[in-house]
Every structure is written in C-alpha cells, then in structure tokens.
C-alpha cells in the first residue's frame, strides 16, 4: 500500500536518478521542475477533454437520452473529434474589433487556470510547489479572470457580448466576497496559508466539514465556486438561450476552445480546492491518498454537473440578491462562529455554534422571503370527463 500511495513520487525520483547519470550537475533542479510542469501541462488539458465528455453524457442521462456514443466505444474518442473540429475551424475576427485585445483575452484567461494547478495537493507529498501562501495564490489568480472576460466582451464590439460581459463581471465580483470570507474560518483554525498544512491539519476523521462552521462554510464556498466558474445555475454570462453566447459570441475555432478549456480547468481546480480545504484533501483510511483525492474531487464535479442538468438559470437580480443579502451575512456570522468554536471547550462549542448558525440562517431566510417567487398553481387543459 505504501508503494502504491507514493507511486508518482517514486516514479519521478527514479526518472531523475536515471537522468542524472548522464546529465551535468546543475541540471537537477531544472529537470525536476520540468517533470512537474510537464505532468501538469499534460494532465490539465486531458482532464478538461474528458470532463467535457463526462458532462455531456451525464446531462444526457439526466434528460433521458444517451450522450455522445457514436465516435468511440462509449463516446470515448469524442473529445478528440471535438479537438480536431476546433483546430480546423476558420478563425473569424470581426472587422471593427480591437484586434490586439481580441487576440489577447483568450490567451491570458487560460494562464491563471493552469497556474492554480501548481498549489493543489494531489496526494501525500505530491504537490508541484509548496508555496507558503498557497490559498492566497489561488484567491488572487481566480480574481484576475474578471477583467479578461470584460476585455473579451469589449473588444468584440458587439452589444450582446458587452451585455454578457458586464453581467459576468458583476456576478464574479459579487461572489468573490463570500468566497474569501468562507475561506477565512479554515485559515483561522489552521493558522497557515499553505495547502499542505491545511490538509495535514485534517488528519484522521476530523475533516472540517464535520464541524458546525464547516458545514456552512463548505456550502457557501461550493456555491460561490460554482458562481465564479460561470456554471449553471449562475451562467447568465453565457446562457445559450438568452444572449446568443454571451461574452464569447465572436470567438471561433481555437480561441473558443481556449475559453472552454479555461472554464473546465477552473471547474476542476475549484472542486479540488473545496476538497482540500473542507473535505480533508487526500486524507482517507484505506485507499492510496491520490485515489481519495480524485474520488472527492470528482464527487464534487458530479454534483456541479447535476446542478447543470437540474436547475433553471437565475435572473440577474435574484443572483445579486442571493450573494449580497444572504451569503455575505451568513459568511460573516460563520466567521464569528468559527472564532467562538475554537475558543470554547469540546461539548459546549458545538452546541453554541449550532444554535447561533441555525438562528442566523432562519433570520436571513425570513428576511429574504418577500423576494422569493410564490409557488404557482398550474392548470392543465385536460379534456377528461
């Protein structure tokens, strides 16, 4: 079990000892960096391709139909067919568009999506860079995506793009605040920004999701993560039935593939970070650590795709109201409760935190009640007598 757990680390080490026999002394570090970077650069896009297939098959099954199943044995070669299609499409740039910005936006949007992979702990001892500010790095990079969406929208000189871009920017900056506030309780309890330390602080079965503030924090972080990635039910920026295709209307071919790739890599990274911070990362009893990590991450991705097939899209004012009037006060009270929980002794802290959280949740629910749409009664025209 120990060797299966560390199989990637041992593989990298044996590769380096084999290479050092015929390479000079100073190339050790460069080789180590190159191996980690190549692993991530191969893993990222391959993950994205098979996530698109998984999503189409899952949403198809929810809608009572098969997903794509013609291309390979189970549709397994479908992503390759999609890739070939996108590479060979003609690259159309509108005449009035701002060529420099139109070209730059999809290129720069992929960069943070790939960089976040370097601070995710995939297993015991398997992290590309153990930064001392791991989670702050993730937060900073996920907040830079905002302006490039707006640059893409503005450079297209298209009213639908601009509308989609502005809505998307408003949504992303409103949902950043509850996201940051829901990460802070974990940092309070652990005391460090580094992702490796956060995972190691959840050893055994005391994952943070099993504590009162952890449940609420996990839900807030997951929902704001879904909103940051622009997925349904928060995807009015690219809602396919509303505003043609939102901010990436005027992009075709490889540039659209880059936007699509950035969205799916962001989905994977957000699920991975939620699993790291609240669900215990690679901690788990019997299986190897990286198997546990992938089980947790893919469970969260499955839930995200389930949301996509089930929920209708939220309207703009409902979306903003949800972030500012419900999630933000709840995240603030959650922070307070996490502080209280850390300072009291064991049986009392759970009870006190649970009481405060339940009371706050109910207060916010009743305060937001007038804005929820009333239940409709449907009348069908039946001709049955």
């Amino acid at each position: 079990m120990e060797t299966i757990d560390q199989v990637f680390v041992l593989a990298k080490r044996s590769l380096m000892t084999w290479a050092q026999s015929f390479l000079p002394e100073w190339s050790t570090i460069i080789l180590s960096i190159l191996i980690s970077v190549t692993a991530i650069a191969v893993f990222g896009p391959v993950t994205m391709m098979y996530l698109t297939l998984l999503e189409r098959k899952l949403v198809g099954r929810i809608q009572n139909r098969y997903g794509p199943n013609r291309v390979g044995f189970w549709g397994l070669l479908q992503p390759i067919a999609d890739g070939v299609k996108m590479l060979t499409k003609e690259d159309i740039v509108p005449t009035n568009a701002d060529k420099f910005a139109h070209f730059l936006a999809p290129v720069v949007i992929v960069i943070p999506a790939l960089l976040i992979f370097s601070v995710i702990p995939f297993g015991r001892g398997m992290i590309a860079v153990d930064l001392s500010i791991g989670i702050l790095f993730f937060l900073a990079l996920s907040s830079t995506t905002t302006i490039w969406i707006f640059v893409a929208a503005w450079a297209s000189r298209n009213k639908f793009s601009l509308l989609g871009g502005m809505r998307s920017v408003a949504q992303m900056i409103s949902y950043e605040i509850p996201m940051v506030l829901s990460i802070v309780p974990v940092l309070l309890v652990v005391g460090s920004f580094s992702t490796v330390t956060i995972v190691e602080a959840q050893s055994g079965w005391n994952w943070f999701v099993f504590t009162p503030w952890g449940v609420v924090g996990f839900l807030i972080f997951f929902l704001t993560g879904v909103a940051e990635v622009n997925r349904t039910p928060f995807d009015l920026a690219e809602g396919e039935s509303e505003i043609v295709a939102g901010f990436h209307t005027e992009y075709s071919g490889m540039k659209f593939a880059l936007f699509y790739m950035a969205e799916f890599m962001n989905t994977f990274s957000i699920s991975a970070i939620v699993a790291t911070m609240y669900l215990g990362g690679w901690q788990g009893p019997w299986l190897p650590s990286w198997v546990w990590f992938f089980i947790k991450t893919y469970a969260l991705i499955f839930v995200m795709m389930w949301f996509r097939g089930t929920f209708p899209r939220l309207r703009v004012d409902q979306l903003m109201g949800f972030a500012w009037k419900f999630l933000l006060p709840l995240a603030l009270v959650n922070l307070l409760v996490a502080g209280i929980w850390t300072n009291l002794s064991t049986p009392k802290n759970n009870i006190v935190s649970l009481i405060i959280l339940v009371v706050t949740f109910n207060l916010l629910y009743w305060a937001n009640r007038p804005e929820m749409p009333k239940k409709r009664t449907y009348r069908y025209a039946y001709a049955d007598e």
Partner: protein, 167 residues
C-alpha cells in the same frame, strides 16, 4: 556564484527591464483601453518583483487587490466614458517635450545621488511572513489599520454619492 544564483539574477534583471518597457508602453500608447491592459501587465510584473524579493504575502495581496479589483474599476470607468470612433483626437497634450526634458534633468540629478550615497545595508536579507505581518497589523499598527478602514468606508460612500445621477 552558482548557476542558479546567476540564473535568478539574470531573470530578475530581465523582469525589471520588462516592467519598465510595459510601463513606458502604458503612458505613451494612444488607445486608452490598450493602456489599461498594459497597466494590468505592469501590476503583474510588480507582483513578480515582490516574489523575487521574498515578499510573497505582499505579492498575493497585490494581485488580489490591484489586478483583481482596481483594474476592474479602471476598465469600467474607461467603458463608461469612452468615445470610440474618434481616433483623430490627440491623446497627449503639447507638453511632451518639456516634460521629457524636465524629467531627464531630474533623473540626471537623482540617479547619481542614489549611486553615490553610502547605504548602510545589513548583511543578511530580512524576510517576514504573513503571520508576522498579521501580528504587526493587530499589535503595533492597530490604530492606522482602524483609521484606514474608516477612510475606505468614507471614500466609497463619497464615490457613490458623487457619481449618482441627479434624481
């Protein structure tokens, strides 16, 4: 110096030259939207310089606040006050040459002064981390911290009041 010492030094100098080049592009380009994009790259370059100087927490805060929030504000302002389709308007006023000459003279005074001054540097490079900065903010600098949060609140309320339409 070892190979990696020299590689780090060479890349540090390259980043410095790159940031200076992008900053010059920012202040001299005609199209204001391109200037905003170049400013985003300048700020990312400054964050990279903070990483080189072992001030990692500050690099994270710089990217989060400057590139994530202030750039959004600047780009929204450009969008709301834009006059597209008027490329004949000159983007800079007639003070280009006097400004350049004056600043060149200033640099000829400042840079030799910097190079000649005997800086009393310590031998070891001092670093700090996020925990110590947090303790300093809540310990020694708690009063400026509270005052600055008040300043930010007042500034934002003022901005909302000033930019509201007169209804």
């Amino acid at each position: 110096m070892s190979f990696f010492g020299s590689l780090a030094t060479v890349s540090f100098y390259a980043v410095l030259v790159g940031v200076l080049a992008v900053a010059i592009l920012t202040v001299t380009t005609r199209n204001l939207f391109h200037a905003a994009i170049f400013l985003a790259f300048t700020l990312l370059g400054v964050a990279l310089i903070y990483f080189f100087l072992h001030a990692e927490f500050l690099a994270g805060v710089q990217i989060l606040l400057y590139v994530g929030a202030i750039m959004t504000l600047v780009i929204f302002a450009i969008m709301l006050t834009a006059k597209i389709g008027d490329p004949s308007m000159p983007q800079s006023n007639h003070q280009r040459l006097p400004a350049f000459v004056g600043l060149a003279i200033l640099s000829f005074i400042l840079i030799p002064a910097i190079l000649k001054m005997p800086w009393k540097t310590e031998d070891a490079f001092q670093t700090t981390n996020a925990v110590q900065i947090g303790k300093a903010l809540m310990g020694e600098f708690v009063f400026p911290f509270e005052v600055i949060s008040l300043v930010l609140l007042v500034a934002l309320i003022g901005a909302i009041v000033v930019s509201r339409s007169d209804q």
